[in-house]
Structures are given as C-alpha cells and as structure tokens.
Subunit: 197 residues, 4 copies
DNA sequence: AATGAATGAGGCTTCATTCAT
DNA sequence: CATGAATGAAGCCTCATTCAT
C-alpha cells in the first residue's frame, strides 16, 4: 500500500533518463539542453530537478549504470583456464559476441559510456588492464606467443572492438556473431596466407 | 626592417592557433573559451577576431589542417604492389611507424582531428574505406587469407592504431617503432602459438 | 485562483512591450538596449527572451501591430462615392480626424511605425498609392480638378499629415479636430484670397 | 609653396567625407561602421582619425554643412513683398524649384540632414517657423485667406516638400520644375473643381 | 601621409537552476 | 507530482578608437 506510492514518479524518472540518454548520445554533453531533455520526456524543467540534482548528476548516473553493467558482464565472461585450442576459440568468440550484444542493446548508453564521458579514456585503460592480465595468464600457459607484448595486444583488441562497435555494429552493417568471429579469426591466426616461409 | 612586413601578425595568428589547439585538446570544443585561448596567447579577445572569424572557424581550420596533412602522408605511404612477404612486412611496419610519428608530432591536433571534431566518425570511415581498398588489392594478389573480410579487417586495424595512439603513444608508454612492429606482428601472424593444430 | 492561468505571463509580456515601445521611440532601434527595456519593465534580461526571441523580433512585432491597426482603420474610412461637396468635406474631415486620433493614441508606436522602421519609406509608399487610387476615383467623378496629378497630390497630403503629426499633434500644439479641419480647408480650397483675377 | 602642402591630405579628407555621406545615407548612423567608410575611401582606419576626431564629429560636420547651405539658399529666396498675384505664383514656383534642385544635388546629405540627424525634428521646426513668419507677412498683406492658420499651413507646406523629396524627387519619379508647379497649384488654389456652389 | 596591429568597453543571447504555487 | 515564471552567471562577438612605426 505504501510501496505502491511513487509509481508515476518512477515512470517520469525513467522517461527523463531515456530522453537524456538519447539527447546526450546525439548531441554530446554540452550541447544537450535540459530544456530538450524534458521536452522529449513531455515534462517541464522543474520536474527534472525533482529526480536529478543537476545535469552532471544525470549524466554521471547514466555513465555509472553503463559501466556497472559492463563490468558485471565482463566478470561473468572470464575464460576458463587451460582449455584446448578449439575450445578456447569457441569460448572467446562467444564472449566477444556477448560483449557486442551488450553494446548493441543500448547504443545511447554505449556512446555515453565509451566516448562521451570525460574520463572514458581512464575507464578504457582499466578495461584494457583487466584484459591484459587475462592475456598474460594465457600467455604464461603457453597459449599465446611469447614474443608478443600482452599489454599492447590488449590495447589492440580493445581498439578493434571499439571501432567495430561504432563503425559496424551501431551502423547495423553487421551483427554480433559475425563480428566476433572475424575478430577472433584475425587476432588468433593473423592475416597472412599459409605456406609463407 | 623591411623583412618584417606582416611578420608580427603572422606570429600572433600562429600563437593563437597553438593556444587554441592546446585548449581544445584539453577541454573540448564547448568548454574552451576564447578568453582562455587569447590569454594563453598573451592577447586580448578582439585580437582573436583579427585572425579568425569565430570559434567554429578556428576549430575547423585546425581540423582541416590535420586532415589534409594526414591524407597527404597516407597517399605517400601506399604499399608497392606485389612484394615478397618479408619486404611487405618491412614496408608495412615502416608505414605504420611513419603514421605513429605523425600523430605523436602534434598530440593536440591528433586529438582534435580524430576525437573532438563532430564529424570525426565520418572522417574515420573514409580512412577505413581507403585502407579496405588497399587490403582488398593485396588479398586478391594472394597475400592475405581469403576467408577474412577486408572491410572488417580494415576497421580492426584502424581501431588498433587509434587505441594505441591514445593509450600508448600519447601517454609516452611506447614509441612509434615499437608500436608499429607489434601491430604488424599481431596482425600478420596472429596470437596463437605454433604447432597447435 | 483559476482565472489567473497564464495571466502573470501576459502581464509581463505587455509590460515589456510597452517598455520597448517607449525606449525605441525615445532612442531609436540601435541605441535601445535590452537591459534598459527590462529595467523599465522591472524584470531581468533572460525574462525578455521568455517572450520575444530577439531585439529584432520585438521591434518587428511592434511595427507589425502598428501597421495592421492603421491599415484596418484606413479600410473602414473609405469615402462613400458620389457625394455632394459639403458632405464630402465633412466626411474627409471626419476621416482625417480619426486618423489623427489614432496616431495620438500611441505616440511611441506612431514614431516606430512611421519613422524608425527601416522599411517605413516603402510602407508610406503603399499608403500613398492607396490614397492616390481613391483620389483618382474622385477626380474622374469630377470632384477634383483635372489639371492636378493625383499621384503628386497624394504624396502632398500624406506629407502634410505626417508633418502635422510630429510637429503639432505629438507636441500637443493642436488637436485632431482642429488639424483635420485645417488640412481640409487648405487642400480643398487653397490659400489664395478670392476675387483674385 | 607652403600652401601647396596638404593637397593629398585634402583629397583624402574629401574622399572620406563622401564615403561617409554615402554610408550614413544608406545605413543610418549606428549601422555605419568606420571600417566601411574607410574601405570605401580606400584608406585604413587610423587615417580616418587623421581628419576627423570621431564618428560623431564627421557626422556632425556633414549635418552642419547641409544645414548651412540650405539656410543660405533659403535666405536668398525670400519673396519680394507686395507682388501681384501672378508674379507671386511665379516667384513661389521658382523658389520651390530651386529648393528641390538643392535637395536633388546631394541626396546623401539631404537624407542625413533631414532624416538621420537626431535633432532633425528641431531643425525642421526652425525652418517651419521661418516659413510661417513669411506666410504671416503675406497674409497680413491680404494675399492669403485670413481664416487659415499660417502656423499650420507652414507645417503642411514643409511636409509636402519633404515627402515629395523622398517619394518623388530622390526616386527620380519627377523633376524639380514639375514638382514645384504642382505644389504651388495645389497650395494656392486647392483641389476643388470650380462652380461648385 | 598612412598603416599593421591591438585594445577597452559593452551589448546580445543562452542555459542551468530555483521560487512560488 | 508538476508547472509557470523568473533569474544569475557567463560567453561570443562587435566596434570605435589608439599605439608604434
């Protein structure tokens, strides 16, 4: 009976959040105006401040939401150790596919969290470090070539994924599965034709 | 005495440009204030408008300058066709090294042209298309594996390079030569240890 | 409580409009500052932009308002055709008196619409053309002397009225009725004493 | 030998003055920019201040020049007293023609002196008072009908002339002689057809 | 006699945010 | 829960004017 209260409020807040995500993604932080957010949410400006303390606040909330979800996803996707090669490739492909699916699910949040947030470079750095650690582990297990720097490889893999997100996935030029397969093919075996040397 | 004709003006314009590049790179377009640009250039606000017609104008000039230079560099770096494998790798490495050197030369412009410009995604798309065409050519010559989509590979390579620029090169964690070598190693031969089959 | 819906806003807008008319009339368009308009209306600058999109906008609105009202007045004041001489003079006098009354009612708008508006000369031209057409009609009916160019007479009559507005009416040196009578006397019968020739 | 000096300077000053008159007449005082004046005069901004102390100064100089010339012209055009009717009309026509010729000679100055100058209304008032005095004199001589207020008639005549200047003369729709004749016809004998009761 | 370079002052406009209801 | 009305703060840009040469 008391829990019921606030239902309309929650809807309004959600509408504002969705509207904001859309506007931020389309125009960036500074060119997004509160007035446009509330217009899109069919509300008025003071209503905005009923649910968010400031423009920064809602932006940060969106960023935080995105990052939390992404981080959780990644933690559930850790590779099982000491697999066979085929199995490894299959798992990697599945993991990356899941990642792409996540990014495709909410393009607005993806852009906000990966591009627009002022500290996105630092966030990416963290993700990359996480990836590098995992790769290191595999490398020490003999899965990956020793002559490669896993730090740099991690940066590369992340760069590929990010670029594929914005140039292919969010432009609907391809789908998560296909992209994941291609990345893995490239990264695992390289571009060169066999028989060389 | 006679040589200085218009020299002071050119110096002022250059100082403004450098100051602007610095401010834009550090704070982004909207948070960069003309007042700060001219302060950094040791001038007053109206002086700015002696040399540039608006904030947009100088920003676009910087973007245009960056892109023109980059495009020229790339055009001089086309791979010679039909090389042997070793030679190919050497050339690719050299080309990519040159690229990294270019980006490292003016980090401010690099950030402005690749990240901050509102149409940078479209610009990247063009670069990627150019790269994809070149790769296609090589693929048809039998250099690259047929099962890979050169469109996607092009996106991947560009993504790697971009990420390496911002995560390694501009943070001085590595140098152009090293980065170029690592990218080529990874992209040409993949990560997998041999003998796995 | 329920009647006041939007009332305060309308009052503010009206206050701004009146203040603007006053300032424009006193100082002209360019020397009128938004800051002074709002000061006179007991508001702050941003409030101005709640009701008008720019300085130009409010000026044009005032001009448009004046012209619309004036045009409507003139259309209701058309002379009935084919009257006797005495009746004609009475009607003309009444019409012109109404005109003067209109101009005296809002001196600010009058100055804005007739003098300050950048296209006021063109507007006057239109009014004069309208007047000329009417005079032509009367001339063909035999009321006015054929040797006079009604185009030029129309210009003259308009010139008299305008000058009387600014030199007599708005300086309170005379009143609409008196002025109308004098104009008609002069224009109908001329200055010359009878019996001449 | 010493008088010769300054010839080039005088030319420059004259060029600036002409340019200023043109710009002021076309755009009004506030929208006229020094930068445009000197551009039109093929000079640079500091050169302007070699000859005029400020924007106001040159404007006032132009206004003063116009008014001085006009005043002189009017003083030489006083009607000879106690003429016969035909002679009076001839003289009036000639006088007014001369006036129109004066205004047509320098349209820019005319607009500046009669419309643009902020105190032009007061200046016109003076002219009108002068005219009214003359008319009074004639009226007392029995030339003009006693029932007319010469003050108001003076305003009317001035209004006609001014309107004819801007609506006919400066638009090249008529010439000084024709306009003078029409004004005199109208003002002397009125519009009404004879024989009317 | 003239110019390239620079500036002080000030106006218009925008926007996040708040008050009173 | 929501709104109409209002504001403080700040940025871009323009222009008359001057300095040094």
């Amino acid at each position: 009976m008391s829990k019921e209260k606030g239902l309309k409020g929650k809807e309004s807040k959600a509408r504002i959040k969705a509207a904001a995500a859309c506007e931020f993604a389309k125009h960036g932080f500074h060119q997004t105006k509160i007035s446009n957010i509330v217009k899109r949410a069919s509300l008025t400006q003071p209503a905005f401040y009923l649910y968010f303390s400031s423009k920064d606040a809602i932006f940060n909330e969106l960023v935080h939401e995105f990052r939390t979800k992404l981080w959780k996803l990644i933690e559930t996707q850790r590779l099982s150790p000491l697999m066979e090669k085929d199995e490894l490739i299959k798992q990697m492909t599945a993991s990356i596919e899941k990642l792409f699916e996540f990014f495709a699910e909410d393009p607005n949040l993806t852009r906000i969290g990966l591009v627009l947030a002022p500290d996105s470079e630092i966030f990416k750095e963290k993700l990359i470090r996480l990836l590098a650690d995992n790769l290191h582990f595999e490398q020490r297990s003999g899965t990956f070539r020793l002559e490669l720097s896993m730090e740099i490889v991690a940066v590369c893999i992340f760069g590929m994924i990010e670029q594929l997100i914005f140039q292919c996935l969010l432009k609907n030029k391809s789908n998560p599965k296909k992209l994941a397969e291609e990345v893995v093919k490239l990264v695992m075996s390289g571009m060169m034709e066999f028989g060389s040397a």
